[in-house]
């Protein structure tokens, strides 16, 4: 087994140092306190700053703990902020795919719809924002399960509710489907919640690559998939492009 990573040890020491006393230190003070070369300390501080664990005061140049550390452990992303950052990309996805777009986050064992763009055909539609979907019977939910955005264990202990004959109603079938989703990077659910309806979804990643939500298109199963029941590659591509664009906006970096 490899030994400890030195730069991570040093980063932890810098955070501990900043958490002590007045909490505002100059680069020279940080380097001297830990016996590091200034260049080394600066490189670590800059990296910590880029992930918002450390902030630098503009006027004095001194360093202190960053706001992101306070939210650590809650993996907090405001849902209204998520909608606001996504809106241009979800509009474009709806316009290009010709289907309705929804954005979901986990909430108490369900998918909470936080944003909805109408299918661009100007028929009467109502906003779905605030409604809840089952995790195991929607592409949005399966994405959240596959990438650990919500715990899988509670679903593994009981029988899963069956909505149609296509619902993945056993833990084994669900596990297999989730493994496949992790391989391909997208999810498809055809008539798993309601006959005739399908959805395609892809993960939205926040800082550091953590999956914070899912975005997808939903509509009639025969529009979303071909005669063999496979989703159209072009629609999968558009959905994944939108998910990547939103992730970039949220600071996920390249992945």
């Amino acid at each position: 087994m490899a030994g400890p990573v030195q730069s991570i040890e040093r980063a932890a020491a810098i955070l501990r140092l900043l958490a002590q006393g007045s909490g505002r230190l100059s680069l020279g003070e940080v380097a001297a306190s830990l016996g590091l070369a200034k260049g080394t300390a600066h490189g670590i501080l800059r990296t910590l700053q880029s992930v918002d664990f450390v902030e630098q005061d503009k006027a004095t140049g001194k360093y202190q703990l960053g706001a992101a550390l306070l939210h650590l452990g809650t993996s907090y992303l405001d849902i209204n902020e998520l909608r606001s950052r996504s809106i241009n990309w979800t509009d474009a996805l709806a316009a290009r795919s010709g289907e309705a777009v929804r954005l979901g986050v986990p909430l108490e064992g369900k998918v909470l719809i936080v944003h909805h763009v109408f299918r661009p055909d100007d028929t009467f539609q109502t906003l779905d924002v605030g409604s809840l979907l089952p995790l195991h019977a929607s592409a949005l939910g399966k994405i959240l399960l596959a990438y650990g955005a919500t715990p899988l264990e509670p679903l593994m202990e009981t029988d899963l509710e069956s909505y149609t004959r296509h619902t993945l109603d056993s833990p084994q079938r669900l596990s297999r489907a989730l493994a496949e989703i992790r391989d391909t990077g997208w999810a498809f659910a055809a008539q798993e919640m309601m006959m005739g309806e399908a959805d395609i979804a892809a993960p939205i990643r926040g800082q550091g690559g953590l999956v914070v939500g899912a975005v997808g298109i939903s509509g009639a199963v025969d529009r979303l998939s071909d005669s063999k029941g496979r989703p159209h590659a072009s629609l999968v591509g558009l959905t994944r492009d939108a998910a990547r664009a939103i992730s970039r906006d949220l600071g996920a970096g390249r992945w």
Binding site: D78, E81, S84, I87, Q125, V129
Partner: protein, 501 residues
């Protein structure tokens, strides 16, 4: 066949953007660059026109072309939308601006404006240009420049310096600058100078005489959608086919082509415009009469406009000055933590109230405070202020215009706030609709240019590109709506007359 696109350039207050649209009116790529804001003295607000032109040439347009992976030959037409009323004066021979551009936010002319309202009165101006004097419009600023820059008036008389708003400055530079650049503006922009006759759409002799502005420095007034000429710099041989003020561009982008159709753009401030058709409606309820658009040789389409000074900027104030939220969208989370406003109202008259009150002596108030009020109630009151201010403008529009509004089309950053959009539908008692392309200013300029160049056939074709992305329906109990509106109006009364000059 090679795919062709329409380019729109939106020269805004904070940044300049270039967006390419395809035949379905879908956004293809974006280039954007912010520019410096100059605040040399309290109340002053300036931009550097040279910086803006250089950003457009070096960064904004190249980035949009690169993003789409296309060459200038693939652009069917260019349309320009711009911050309105911002005043530029430049040397015809060298192309060098005389100082900075004085922006629409600049209030240095407030003393002069008060004086001319007192001595001449509003009617003289209303009859000719449809506007009563405020620091908003260009003519008082031009007057200020003559009074403060030595010899400028004489140079203007001799035709050595040119005046324009931002679209004039950019078109002149795009078409060759000192080497034969076209000096023109469109009727929507000209309608905000206080120098154009609102009926004839030509420079008004009496207004020119009043402000002592020489005709030789003024651009030619053209239609909003019409091919003016070819670009020579930057995008050689691409026709420039549209120019509109940004709010009129948004009206066009929202395809409000029929009388009675209205849109409101929610930014730092908000601007509600209603199409009044070819009929010129003079407001008796505190709205501005303005040119909505003029397509080719067709008669002009007029609009009534209600500007609201503080909407999104109240949320920014809540975030930056009170520090109760980290980002603007978080205000919805905070507001949803409570059931209602708890009896609390905020009137954000930070620098007076615009439409429909026009009271510069108003200042902001928070009323109804009790020990029960939490930051959640304040968050509600912040959002509700935008709803009620819109309601006041809509009431004025319905009182002035023969056709009452049936729905409101919305755009701008605040439309991602579901709580606010639902509240808006509730207090207006009409459907509120968000279109699929939220960049309506850019889209409007592109539509006008595409229409003039034949890229799109007609207004009906453009209408078919418009799609509903979301719709909020009113659900509020009418008795509650009336009671809340009455409370809001009482709060507004308390904001009036606070500032003493």
């Amino acid at each position: 066949m090679v795919e062709r696109y329409v380019m729109s350039i939106d020269q805004g207050t904070m940044s300049t953007r270039c967006i390419l649209f395809d035949h379905q009116g879908r956004l293809v790529s974006v280039g954007q660059r912010e520019h410096e804001q100059y605040f040399a003295k309290p109340g002053w607000a300036e931009h550097d026109p040279t910086e803006i032109w250089s950003h457009l040439r070096r960064a904004v347009v190249p980035r949009a072309l690169e993003g789409a992976g296309i060459r200038p030959e693939q652009i069917a037409a260019i349309g320009i939308a711009n911050q309105r009323e911002t005043t530029v004066v430049w040397d015809r021979r060298t192309g060098v601006p005389v100082g900075h551009a004085i922006t629409w936010q600049d209030t240095r002319t407030s003393g002069y404006v008060e004086e001319l309202r007192r001595t001449t009165g509003d009617d003289f101006f209303l009859e000719r240009c449809g506007l009563s004097p405020t620091t908003y419009f260009s003519a008082p600023r031009l007057r200020w420049l003559f009074d403060h820059v030595d010899g400028l008036r004489e140079r203007a008389e001799r035709g050595e310096v040119l005046f324009g708003t931002m679209e004039s400055w950019l078109i002149w530079n795009l078409t060759g600058g000192p080497d034969g650049g076209l000096h023109l503006t469109d009727a929507t922009n000209a309608s905000r100078t206080m120098l154009m006759n609102i009926r004839s759409l030509s420079w008004d002799d009496e207004l020119l005489a009043y402000f002592d502005v020489p005709r030789a420095m003024l651009p030619e007034i053209r239609s909003s959608a019409e091919c003016y000429g070819m670009a020579r710099a930057l995008l050689p041989d691409v026709p420039i086919c549209a120019a509109l003020g940004d709010q009129q561009a948004a009206l066009f982008g929202q395809t409000c082509f029929a009388p009675g159709e209205a849109k409101c753009t929610y930014g730092t401030g908000s601007f509600l415009l209603v199409n009044t058709g070819t009929e010129l409606v003079r407001s008796r309820h505190g709205l501005l009469t303005t040119v909505g658009y003029k397509v080719g040789d067709e008669p002009p389409v007029y609009a009534l406009e209600g500007p609201i000074a503080v909407t999104g900027s109240l949320v920014q104030w809540f975030r930056d000055r009170l520090g109760l939220i980290h980002s603007a969208p978080e205000i919805e989370t905070l507001a949803r933590g409570v059931e209602d406003n708890g009896g609390c109202y905020i009137v954000p008259a930070f620098s007076g109230l615009f439409a429909p009150h026009w009271r510069s002596d108003a200042r902001g108030v928070i009323v109804g405070l009790t020990s029960y009020i939490t930051k959640g109630h304040l968050a509600r009151a912040v959002l509700e202020a935008t709803g009620w201010q819109t309601r006041e403008v809509v009431d004025s529009m319905n009182a002035d215009s023969p056709r009452p509004l049936r729905q409101l089309k919305v755009d701008g950053g605040m439309t991602s706030n579901n709580l606010l959009m639902q509240f808006l539908a509730d207090v207006l008692d009409m459907p509120v609709v968000r279109p699929m392309v939220s960049e309506t200013v850019s889209l409007g300029a592109a539509y006008a240019a595409g229409l003039a160049s034949g890229y799109w056939p007609d207004l009906e074709g453009l209408r078919r590109n418009w799609h509903r992305a979301a719709q909020w329906m009113p659900t509020m109990d009418p008795a509650r709506r009336d009671a809340e509106y009455e409370s809001w109006q009482r709060a507004v009364e308390r904001s009036l007359g606070w500032a003493r000059s």
